[in-house]
């Protein structure tokens, strides 16, 4: 941002130290709750009652795990599998069909194109909560409650993803490539699958992370649609932890939370660079 020809005064040490202290405090604030959680997951309820705060892990992880054998309401494995099915399904459908729609909006000149794009922009901000009752009643009438597909199929129509993909295609798709594919005799559909999709890889990767995380974390719709215990997703499983069953099992509650949170933290730390730059990318578009 700066040009080296301009001389610049450096900040005084006091200002710098102040800035660093604030940043370090905020950074610690982001991690500390999770560290407390991990530590308490390894301690017995008696230990937690005697000293609620500790920074050093103990060795009672197994005891806390046993609580879930005795009181099996919280089933992280079931929750994990269901959440994974919904998230993978929704991510794949959303990426593929949003790209296809975005391609239709970018590569072809058609009469309703501009109106269609305006429509997508207009409905982008409508949250699912506003349509929930009608959605639930429709699903109920079709006997589609307790069916994971009910939460996967709506991902085909994701206005925000279409918008993002269109912005990306506008800046990175050259029609010459498409033209040469046509000359080589490739059909339009094949051109999209084998030429356009690979071009979109960076955008697909960024969006994949956000759609996956968003679907994984959703509580509202799954809570209404999935009533059967064997269909519950991870966030619903978590919500069961604050029921009466685990009231005094403090160690087990922390362990249950750790089971749901730690995988997310690990995946996040691996992908963090892409995630943070992905947020920034969305802003500039």
């Amino acid at each position: 941002m700066s040009s080296k020809s301009l001389s610049k005064s450096q900040d005084s040490l006091v200002v710098k130290v102040f800035v660093y202290i604030i940043c370090i405090v905020l950074a610690i604030l982001s991690i500390l709750p999770f560290w407390f959680m991990v530590v308490n997951a390894t301690r017995t309820s008696e230990m937690i009652l005697a000293h609620p705060i500790s920074l050093i892990p103990s060795s009672h992880l197994g005891d806390n795990l046993k609580v879930f054998d005795d009181k099996p309401t919280f089933q992280p494995v079931t929750g994990f599998i269901n959440s994974a099915i919904i998230s993978v399904g929704a991510t794949v459908l959303s990426l593929y069909f949003s790209s296809l729609t975005a391609y239709a909006l970018t590569a072809y000149e058609w009469k309703l194109r501009d109106s269609f794009f305006k429509f997508i922009m207009a409905v982008m901000m409508i949250p699912a909560q506003c349509t929930l009752i009608g959605f639930f009643k429709m699903v109920y009438a079709l006997h589609m409650t307790n069916n994971l597909l009910t939460l996967i199929l709506p991902a085909i129509a994701a206005p925000a993803t279409v918008f993002f993909m269109r912005q990306y295609l506008q800046s990175s798709l050259s029609m010459e490539i498409v033209q040469s594919a046509r000359i080589d005799g490739a059909g339009e559909f094949r051109t999209f699958n084998s030429i356009v999709l690979p071009i979109m890889k960076p955008a697909l990767a960024t969006q994949a992370i956000f759609i996956y995380v968003g679907t994984w974390n959703e509580l509202f719709r799954p809570l209404v649609i999935l009533i059967d215990a064997s269909k519950k997703t991870m966030p619903i499983m978590v919500s069961l932890l604050n029921g009466d069953i685990y009231r005094v099992e403090y160690g087990a509650i922390y362990l249950g939370l750790a089971i749901t949170i730690l995988p997310l933290i690990i995946v996040y730390l691996i992908l963090s660079r892409y995630i943070v730059s992905g947020v920034a990318l969305g802003a500039v578009k």
Binding site: S2, L49, F116, K137, I265, V284
Partner: protein, 333 residues
């Protein structure tokens, strides 16, 4: 290119949009219209069939019922809570994000380790809100819990100095209305300021560096540069952050629901929780009332979105489009 061929390709624009349109009609548009209809009827109860649904004698009765009720469990209180909890999270969030943005984009401060800092403060944003809410509930637990331990430690320490007679009793934080509201706001703040900061920094980096150089040559100091150049230039991103946060805030559900089930005394119940409670946790299953409340929220969000699009519209692009239209007309002639 041959004109017939162009027409030929145009049909693929329609064909490739079909899956989106069909899915949108079934899973979004139909439910919206259905919700609107239910809002005018007497549909309630688990066993009532849709075919038995009748229009209310006063079609707006559900809306009147929703909007007129007062007190614990009412829509009015829920709306008040939702707005207050959003405002108390957004103002500090914007303040902290702007401050960090100013520090991080100023090369006179030269903060090291920015990448790591961004990664760490963004972390809470990707964690399941449901898990975060229950984690904070565990921290606030009564009679014994981490925050109570800290409170007792502090009070014991000061009691030794000032002798005000601390009785050693612990405090039930989740029984205090404002403390519980504050906790919801804090969790929202904690989960979202990293995201806002990353967006704002991206916005500042996108500003043409020549503007800053010109300002520096003109002798603008740091404060002037920030308020007169940086802030106006990231106006669009600020508005985007404002409106997305507002829409998210108006739909707040997971955190207040799981932190304390909207309590104490309905002081953290939100409008999304009102809809959920009326339809699925009320023994009468008031789908009609929940629908009316959904539509009220829908209208509020639509108004906000329209305002956003009006303010965010790119004036240059509007001009450009007019010129293009004129050119197209000229070509046809």
């Amino acid at each position: 290119m041959d004109k017939r061929k162009t027409v030929n390709y145009a049909k693929y624009g329609y064909i490739f949009s079909i899956p989106f349109v069909i899915a949108y009609l079934i899973f979004s548009l139909y439910p919206v219209l259905y919700t609107v209809v239910i809002g005018f009827t007497d549909l309630h109860g688990l066993t009532m069939k849709i075919t038995d649904m009748r229009l209310m004698s006063n079609p707006f009765q559900n809306y009147i019922d929703v909007l007129s009720a007062k007190g614990n469990g009412s829509f009015r209180l829920a709306f008040f809570n939702t707005v207050i909890m959003w405002v108390c999270n957004f103002i500090p969030q914007l303040f902290v994000s702007l401050l960090l943005t100013a520090w991080f984009t100023d090369d006179r401060t030269k903060i090291k380790g920015q990448g790591l800092f961004k990664v760490l403060v963004y972390l809470p944003n990707i964690i399941t809100a449901a898990s975060v809410a229950i984690l904070f509930q565990a921290f606030l637990s009564y009679p014994i819990g981490p925050l109570n331990a800290i409170r007792s430690g502090f009070l014991n320490f000061f009691d030794k100095i000032f002798h005000f007679g601390f009785d050693g009793k612990t405090y039930n934080f989740l029984n205090n209305k404002n403390f519980t509201r504050g906790t919801v706001s804090f969790i929202q703040f904690w989960m979202w300021y990293g995201n806002t900061m990353v967006l704002l920094i991206a916005g500042v980096i996108g500003i043409d560096p020549e503007i800053f150089e010109a300002a520096q040559i003109d002798g603008a100091n740091r404060r002037q540069t920030f308020f007169r150049i940086t802030l106006p230039c990231i106006r669009t991103i600020l508005l985007y952050v404002l409106v997305t946060s507002m829409i998210g805030g108006l739909n707040m559900f997971d955190i207040p629901q799981l932190l304390n089930r909207g309590g104490p005394d309905g002081s953290t119940a939100t409008t999304a929780m009102y809809i959920y409670t009326q339809a699925f946790r009320n023994s009468e299953y008031m789908y009609n009332r929940a629908s009316a409340a959904s539509i009220i929220m829908f209208i509020i969000i639509m108004i906000l979105t329209v305002i956003l699009f009006y303010i965010l519209r790119d004036k240059d692009e509007v001009e450009l489009r007019k010129i293009r239209k004129r050119e197209r007309k000229a070509l046809k002639r």
